[in-house]
């Protein structure tokens, strides 16, 4: 039962990175490419961004319902980066819908656009920091000590910064690949070039994350080597790179998306495999795991039932939404 819930938690996070990440990444891509991509970005994410965003809420609900101590540890000691990620979420959502719906004239559109782009950068960075802090193991066991030591040092360090930057690049890259499928003749080369640059940056940043992990004493590399699942994920991701390249150049939009999604899934699933069953690493080598934080069995039972019923409702609806907007041409 617990394993099934953890699997759904993992799937929610994965879908949030893939779908919600593409929406935040669109803002990042727009920042790189500039104004000429605004129209395509708006059209691409408008119908889906709210639904995509809910995967995060689902992950949060699973965490506080099923693993309350893990949730409250994260919200207590990583309060500041979470608050900043939330502010990004508020401003991105508001600025995007204002930009889409306000009267299309005057300077105000520029303010919306810049708010949208900057906040799109904020949320992945701070969420990445939170993930880094959860892996790192500097989260205290109780709140006694200086403010800096308890509420700042767990997340403001080289390792968490590197995971934050990695998350920005990952979101941006997913979005650039996704936008290739939405592009026209004129913007196709621009998005293609952007996705190439972001991909190279992503690989380099991944290297930096591993280096930082070594410096900060996180056994990320050996963790990856010790798990069969992680190794196969890394190998698969490597094999997918040339496939993706060919499919981008041949303008196979759907194939490109599937391959990019699979690559991202490999990165995340590989990390999940390293991490499982730990939810939060704390100081002195203490771990909050799915086993020592889980709610009573009856709660888990109801939670799983709710999730399974929910999935049967949500997935077909999602499929329909994507079929209408992503795989069909407009009939006017």
């Amino acid at each position: 039962m617990t394993e099934a819930i953890v699997a759904i938690l993992g799937i929610s996070l994965l879908l949030y990175v893939l779908l919600g990440g593409a929406d935040f990444g669109a803002g990042i891509v727009e920042m790189i490419v500039g104004k000429k991509s605004s129209r395509i970005v708006s059209k691409a994410i408008a119908p889906v961004w709210e639904a995509n965003h809910i995967w995060l809420i689902l992950a949060v609900v699973i965490l506080f319902n099923g693993f309350p101590l893990a949730y409250t540890t994260i919200t207590t000691y990583l309060h500041i980066p979470l608050l900043l990620a939330l502010i990004g979420i508020i401003i991105r959502g508001a600025a995007f819908s204002f930009r889409y719906y306000d009267v299309l004239e005057g300077n105000v559109q520029n303010y919306y656009s810049w708010s949208f782009r900057l906040s799109s950068l904020m949320t992945p960075f701070f969420l990445g920091m939170v993930l880094g802090a959860v892996i790192l193991g500097r989260i205290p066991v109780n709140p006694s000590g200086s403010f800096i030591d308890i509420f700042i040092s767990p997340w403001l360090n080289g390792f968490a910064i590197s995971t934050g930057v990695f998350m920005i690049l990952l979101f941006g890259w997913i979005a650039s690949v996704y936008l290739i499928g939405e592009s026209d003749e004129e913007s196709f080369p621009v998005f293609r070039r952007t996705s190439l640059i972001l991909f190279i940056a992503l690989i380099l940043c991944g290297g930096v994350v591993f280096l930082m992990a070594r410096r900060w004493g996180v056994h990320l590399f050996s963790g990856f080597l010790h798990s069969a699942i992680s190794i196969s994920c890394v190998v698969l991701a490597t094999l997918l790179v040339p496939v993706m390249w060919i499919s981008i150049n041949r303008k196979k939009a759907l194939l490109t998306r599937i391959v990019a999604g699979a690559t991202t899934a490999c990165i995340l699933v590989g990390w999940f495999a390293v991490q499982f069953p730990v939810l939060v690493n704390r100081r002195n080598g203490e771990h909050l795991t799915v086993w020592n934080t889980q709610a009573p069995a009856v709660t888990m039972y109801y939670l799983l039932a709710a999730l399974i019923v929910g999935i049967f409702i949500i997935f077909p609806a999602f499929g329909y939404l994507f079929r209408i907007f992503k795989f069909s041409r407009e009939s006017t």
Binding site: I57, F64, I90, D102, P296
Partner: protein
């Protein structure tokens, strides 16, 4: 400002902001759906214009509601970690159901807003009603969680720990139905009266535009039904509060002494130190009747409650009085509207439209006041009678800075939304085609 006060303020600001968008997200989709249905049935272009204009409003409000709701789901842990540690396993279930309903709402809204040219009209109409139904359901689930804080159920509290948890009993606690009914009606009444008020104002300014009359009739008809039903639902709620949360009722009515045949106190200024209410009107025996259905029943006063367990009496008292006043105004207006409609006396009365325009904020004032009653009235408890708010607050110092930041952002957003709406209305008025570029 200490951490507890700052955290309470931040939570209050977050709720006060979110509840407006949540109400609009629940009720407004029904209005756009009705307008579209009428367009399909009659083929009158005004209905289509209206449905599109309203759906643009829904889009903006829904987006802000979705993000401010996300903030709340995190704030529960950011500000009240000890509460969530205990409550998460007990009351997580309605949240997971709410997530599902909200998913469905977001998906259906995507189809409704952006699918005008992509799906056939019946599918499109169905997506509209799905948004409405899913919105109402998600609201009911969230209210169930709040109602559990007011009347906790589904666990045993032993040595500061919850054991024998029953999520089902927790979700369907003793107050969930009363609270869900009251809030759902409130969402409809407040949103519809606001929409009707805006269109009444526009009708006065632009007599020649037929859209506003139609809009006003649709919104006010739905709103009237909700506003007339609301006092009855309020009565059910009050009886429930009298039974399960005597301290809250005593604060609402500023009843300092336990009284048999207690009078209903209208208005007045409570003096907590002297334990009396000044300048109030007392309607004899009415409170006993309203609370317990018997004119001579005993109503528990604040003297039965330990001083340290008193809620802030004045705030709860004022909140309750304001809510009831607004509710009465809206119910009376609703009754008049239905009377005009059924006796076919709907003529252009200037005073009527002016009155409606004046009532634009009434429903939302009532909603905010009502939330203040229910949340402040539960203090000092976060889980009534079980866990104190002060025991559950985060250990992190400096929460006042996050309170300032969140408040600043929300004030800014409110101002922008307000300004944006006025621009939308102007554009609708001038027939600005620039608006519909995306459609």
């Amino acid at each position: 400002m200490d951490v507890l006060l700052a955290a309470r303020y931040q939570m209050a600001v977050s709720f006060i902001f979110h509840i407006v968008f949540a109400c609009i997200g629940i009720a407004m989709p029904w209005l756009m759906f009705i307008a579209e249905y009428k367009w399909i049935r009659t083929g009158k272009k005004e209905y289509l214009t209206l449905s599109k204009a309203w759906s643009r409003g829904v889009a903006i409000f829904f987006a802000v509601g979705a993000v401010s709701g996300t903030v709340l789901s995190f704030e529960l842990g950011l500000l009240w970690p000890k509460f969530m540690e205990h409550a998460g396993p007990i009351i997580g279930m309605p949240f997971s159901w709410e997530g599902t309903a909200f998913f469905l709402e977001a998906i259906a809204l995507g189809i409704f807003l952006y699918g005008w040219n992509r799906v056939n009209k019946w599918v499109h109409l169905a997506s509209g009603v799905t948004v409405g139904i899913a919105g109402v359901i998600s609201g009911i689930f969230v209210i169930s969680a709040n109602s559990w804080m007011n009347s906790p159920a589904g666990f045993e509290w032993v040595n500061g720990k919850a054991i024998n948890i029953d999520p089902f009993k927790a979700m369907f606690n003793k107050g969930w139905f009363e609270q869900a009914l009251h809030m759902t009606l409130a969402a409809f009444a407040s949103t519809c009266f606001a929409v009707a008020g805006i269109h009444a104002y526009l009708h006065l300014k632009h007599k020649d535009n037929p859209v506003h009359r139609i809009a006003l009739r649709i919104a006010l008809s739905v709103g009237s039904v909700a506003a007339i039903l609301q006092p009855f639902s309020g009565d059910i709620s009050a009886k429930h509060v009298a039974k399960y949360q005597p301290a809250k009722l005593a604060a609402m009515e500023s009843l300092f002494k336990t009284t048999t045949g207690a009078p209903l106190t209208v208005g007045g200024i409570p003096d907590t130190a002297a334990r009396e209410v000044n300048y109030a009107i007392h309607l004899p025996k009415l409170l006993s009747f309203l609370a317990h259905g018997n004119f001579n029943a005993k109503v528990t006063g604040l003297d039965q409650i330990e001083r340290k367990n008193w809620p802030p009496v004045s705030i709860v008292h004022y909140g309750f009085q304001i809510m009831v006043l607004m509710g009465i105004l809206m119910a009376a207006t609703g009754a008049l509207h239905l009377f005009f409609t059924f006796t076919r006396r709907y003529r252009d009365r200037r005073w009527w439209f002016r009155w409606l325009a004046l009532l634009t904020p009434a429903g939302f004032i009532a909603v905010e006041a009502g939330w203040i009653v229910t949340e402040v009235g539960r203090q000092p408890w976060i889980i009534y009678g079980i866990l104190r708010t002060s025991e559950s607050v985060t250990p992190m110092p400096g929460i006042q800075y996050s309170f300032y930041l969140v408040t600043l952002i929300y004030i800014g957003l409110s101002a922008i939304v307000f300004w944006l709406m006025s621009r939308q209305i102007q554009a609708l008025q001038s027939g600005n085609d620039n608006l519909y570029e995306h459609d």
